[in-house]
C-alpha cells in the first residue's frame, strides 16, 4: 500500500464521516460520535503509513491534472514530505484524542451529532491543507478550516456572545486571507504556477525579481498572521473561547492556528529566497512582539480559557520567531510539542468547566484534592509550557531560543522575557485554580475525558526526547536527513541554564505571590496601577479597532442604506408616479381630444341639420322655386360651362 501516494485518504475519511453524520443525524452510531472517531482513526492509520514511507525516503510529490483554462493548466496533488507527515500525525492523533474527549464533554447537548459533523469536516480540511501541494488547493482548505472555526465557535449560536465571537473570528481572519490570496495571485502571475515545488524551484532559480518574492512572502504572511492570531490580527482568538472547550483545544490551540505557522514553513523558500530581505525580519519581529504582548495580558486575565488563549497567541509568536530567524524546523518542532501540551491544558480547563460550571479562576480553588487526575495532567502541561526540562516544551522552545541568539541578541533578550512571563502566568493559574481552599463543588471527570488527557500528558512529557541537542532526531528528520540545519551546532549548556533559570524564576514569583501572598497581589496591583490598567484592558486594541474601523464602516453602511432608501427607492417610486401621471395624461387626451373630435363630428352634423332643415318649409311653392332655380343653373352650366 503506497500511503504517500494516497495521502489524500487522510482528509478523505473524516470528510466521509462528516457526510455520513449529516445524513444519518442522531440515528447514526453513537449519535454520530463513533463515525467521527472511526474516521479519525483511519486517518491516523494513513498518517502512520505516510510517516513510515517518508522515513524510508519514499515520500514525494504526487500531482494529477486538475483542469485547464486557456493555456493555463492547474494540477492538484499531495506532497508527502517530512513536514506534512509530521503535521498529519499531529492533527490526526491530537484530533482523535479530542474527539474521544468530546464524547464526554458534549454529552447531552441537543446538537451533539452536528458537533461531530463539524469537527470531522474541520479535521478533513486541516489534513487537506497539510498535504496540499498546490497553493490553490491549500487556500481552499484554508478557507474551509476558517468556515469550520466559525461554525464551531458559534456552535451555541443562541448565545449572542458566541455569535459575535464567530463573526469576529471570521472577519478578522478574512482580512488576512485577502492578503494571502493576493500573494497567491502575485506568484501565479510572476512565476506562472501555483504548484509549490515548481514554484520554489523557479524562485530559487531567480526567475522573478526580488521585490515580487518579498511582496508575495509578506502577503502570504498576512494570511498566516490572521490565522495564527499574530499582532495585530490576534483579537479574535480570546473571543473564540466562547466555543465548546474541545473546539478551543483542537482548533484554537493545536491545529488551525498552527496552520499559519505551517504555511510560512511550507513557503519558507520564498521568504529565504532574498537574503537579508525584509520578509523574515518582519516575521520575527511580529512574532516576538506578539509573544510579549499576549504573555503580558495573560498575567492579569482571570478566565482560565482566556489565559490559555493568550498563552496560545504567545506561543504562536514564538513559532513565528523561530521561522523569522531562519529555522522552520525549530518552529515546526515547537508546533508539535505545543499541540500536545496546549490541547492537554485546554482539556483540563474543559474538565474543570464540565465539573464545576465555572471559568473564573478566582471562583475556583482547592481542586487538587477533588480532581486529582486533572491536576496532575495539568501540571504536566503547565511544566511543558513553562519550559522545564526534560519536558517537551523545554526542548522545542530552547531550539527556538538557540536559533534566535545566533541571529539577534536583542530578539533573544525579548524572547527570554517572554519565557519569564509564561512561567509566571501559568503558575498563577495553577496555584489559584488548584491550590488553596475549595470554593466550589467538583468531582473528577469520567474516564472518556481523562483518558485522552493522560495520553496527551504522556506525549507532552516525553516528546522532547525526540529532539534534544545531543540527539536531534526530530530536527534531522524534518530537515531531510542530514541537510544543513542549525541544530548541527553543539548543545549550548549556558543557554539552557539561562532559560531554565528564567523559567524557575517566573514559577517562583508566581508561587510566592499567589500561594504565599509575598508580595501581595493586591499591593502590587495598587503600586503598578497604570501598568495593571493597560494590561487588563488588553492595551485597548479592540477598542481602537472599534473606533477606527468598525464605527466608520457602520456609518458608511448606514450612509449607503440612506442612499438606497431615498435615492434609489425614490427613483423607483418616482418612475411609478411618472407612469401614473403619464397614464392620467393619456386618459385626459383620450377624453378631451379623441372623444372631442368624435363628438365634434356629430355636433357638426347636427348643427348642419339644424340649419339645413329650414329648407323644409312644407310649402310646395318653395320647393318649386328651388326646382326652377336648380334647372336654371344647370342650363347655365351647360351653356357656358366646360
Amino acid at each position: 500500500m503506497h500511503f504517500a501516494q494516497h495521502a489524500y485518504l487522510a482528509p478523505a475519511f473524516p470528510l466521509l464521516a462528516c457526510g455520513l453524520i449529516l445524513a444519518l443525524g442522531r440515528r447514526g452510531p453513537g449519535q454520530g460520535a463513533y463515525l467521527a472517531v472511526g474516521g479519525m482513526t483511519l486517518s491516523l492509520l494513513v498518517s502512520l503509513g505516510v510517516l513510515r514511507e517518508v522515513l524510508a525516503r519514499k515520500g514525494g510529490d504526487f500531482s494529477v491534472f486538475w483542469f485547464r483554462a486557456g493555456d493555463m493548466q492547474l494540477g492538484a496533488g499531495v506532497l508527502a514530505d517530512p513536514f506534512s507527515a509530521v503535521m498529519l500525525l499531529v492533527v490526526s492523533f491530537v484530533g482523535l484524542m479530542i474527539f474521544i474527549y468530546s464524547i464526554g464533554y458534549m454529552h447531552g447537548d441537543p446538537l451533539y451529532a452536528r458537533y461531530f459533523a463539524y469537527l470531522s469536516l474541520f479535521a478533513a480540511a486541516m489534513m487537506g491543507l497539510v498535504v496540499a501541494d498546490s497553493l490553490i488547493v491549500l487556500y481552499m482548505c484554508w478557507e474551509l478550516v476558517g468556515l469550520c472555526s466559525y461554525l464551531l465557535i458559534g456552535f451555541w449560536f443562541q448565545r449572542p456572545a458566541a455569535a459575535r465571537a464567530a463573526k469576529k473570528a471570521f472577519l478578522v481572519t478574512r482580512l488576512g486571507d485577502a492578503g494571502f490570496l493576493l500573494g497567491i495571485l502575485l506568484l501565479f502571475f510572476a512565476l506562472g504556477t501555483v504548484h509549490m515545488p515548481s514554484l520554489f524551484a523557479k524562485a530559487d532559480a531567480g526567475v522573478a525579481s526580488e521585490w515580487v518574492l518579498v511582496a508575495a512572502a509578506l502577503l502570504i504572511f498576512c494570511g498566516a498572521a490572521g490565522k495564527s492570531a499574530q499582532f495585530p490580527l490576534h483579537v479574535w482568538l480570546p473571543d473564540a473561547m466562547e466555543g465548546p472547550t474541545p473546539v478551543s483545544a483542537l482548533i484554537h490551540a493545536a491545529t488551525m492556528v498552527a496552520a499559519g505557522v505551517y504555511l510560512v514553513a511550507r513557503t519558507f523558500p520564498l521568504f529565504a529566497a532574498v537574503p537579508d530581505g525584509p520578509a523574515l525580519s518582519v516575521v520575527a519581529w511580529i512574532g516576538v512582539l506578539t509573544a510579549l504582548i499576549a504573555a503580558s495580558i495573560a498575567t492579569v486575565t482571570n478566565d482560565i480559557k482566556r489565559v490559555l488563549a493568550y498563552s496560545t497567541i504567545s506561543q504562536l509568536g514564538y513559532m513565528m520567531l523561530g521561522l523569522g530567524v531562519g529555522s522552520a524546523v525549530a518552529a515546526i518542532f515547537h508546533l508539535t510539542t505545543h499541540a500536545f501540551f496546549k490541547a492537554l491544558l485546554f482539556m483540563t480547563a474543559g474538565s474543570i468547566i464540565h465539573a464545576t460550571g465555572k471559568q473564573d479562576m478566582w471562583e475556583l480553588g482547592g481542586l487538587r484534592a477533588k480532581m486529582p487526575i486533572t491536576f496532575v495532567t495539568f501540571l504536566c502541561g503547565a511544566a511543558a509550557l513553562a519550559g522545564l526540562p526534560p519536558l517537551s516544551g523545554f526542548s522545542s522552545k530552547d531550539e527556538i531560543l538557540l536559533e534566535t541568539l545566533h541571529v539577534s541578541p536583542l530578539l533573544y533578550g525579548l524572547a527570554l522575557a517572554g519565557v519569564f512571563l509564561t512561567a509566571f502566568y501559568v503558575t498563577r493559574m495553577a496555584v489559584v485554580t488548584f491550590l488553596g481552599e475549595g470554593k466550589t463543588e467538583a468531582h473528577e471527570s469520567p474516564m472518556v475525558m481523562t483518558g485522552p488527557m493522560i495520553v496527551l500528558a504522556v506525549g507532552a512529557v516525553s516528546l522532547g526526547w525526540l529532539g534534544t541537542p545531543w540527539a536531534p532526531l526530530f530536527q534531522n528528520f524534518l530537515a531531510g536527513h542530514g541537510a544543513e540545519h542549525g541544530s548541527a551546532q553543539a548543545p549550548n549548556l549556558g543557554l539552557m541554564a539561562a532559560s531554565v533559570g528564567v523559567a524557575l524564576a517566573g514559577i517562583a514569583l508566581g508561587y510566592s505571590m499567589y500561594a504565599k501572598g509575598v508580595p501581595s497581589p493586591a499591593a502590587l496591583k495598587r503600586s503598578l496601577c497604570p501598568l495593571y490598567v493597560v494590561l487588563s484592558n488588553k492595551y485597548w486594541i479592540d477598542e481602537a479597532y472599534q473606533w477606527a474601523i468598525i464605527r466608520p464602516g457602520l456609518r458608511l453602511a448606514s450612509l449607503f442604506r440612506t442612499f438606497d432608501e431615498e435615492a434609489v427607492d425614490g427613483a423607483v417610486n418616482g418612475a411609478g408616479k411618472a407612469a401614473v401621471g403619464g397614464s392620467w395624461l393619456s386618459n385626459a387626451f383620450d377624453h378631451i381630444v379623441v372623444d372631442g373630435l368624435v363628438n365634434l363630428v356629430g355636433w357638426t352634423t347636427r348643427q348642419a341639420g339644424a340649419v339645413g332643415r329650414f329648407i323644409q318649409t312644407g310649402l310646395a311653392q318653395d320647393y318649386m322655386f328651388w326646382l326652377a332655380a336648380g334647372a336654371f343653373i344647370l342650363i347655365l352650366i351647360g351653356w357656358f360651362g366646360p
Binding site: Q616, T617, G618, L619, A620, Q621, M624, A628
Partner: protein, 102 residues
Amino acid sequence: MIGLQHYLILAALLFAVGLYGALTRRNAIGILLSIEIMLNAVNINLVAFSRYQPGAGLGGQVFVVFVITVAACEAAVGLALILCIFRTRRTVEADEVNLLKW
C-alpha cells in the same frame, strides 16, 4: 316679318309669367293655372320650331299633342288632390298646407 324669334320670345315670356305665377300665387288652383301656362309656352315653342325650323317635320306638332294630353291628365290629378286637401283642411291656400314643415 314675324320670324321664329318672335314666337320664341313669346314662349319665353309666357314661361316666365307662368313660372312667376307658380311660385307666388297663394291659391292652389292659381298655381295649377300657372303650370298650364308654362306647359302652353312649351307647346308654342315646339310648334314654332316645327313651323319655322327647316327640316323639322311634323315632329313638333305631334309632340305638342302628347303634351296637351299629359297636361290634361296632370290638371285632373292636381284638381283631385286639391279637392282632397280642401275636404280635410277646408282651405286651398298653399301657405296653409305646410304639414311637412320642419
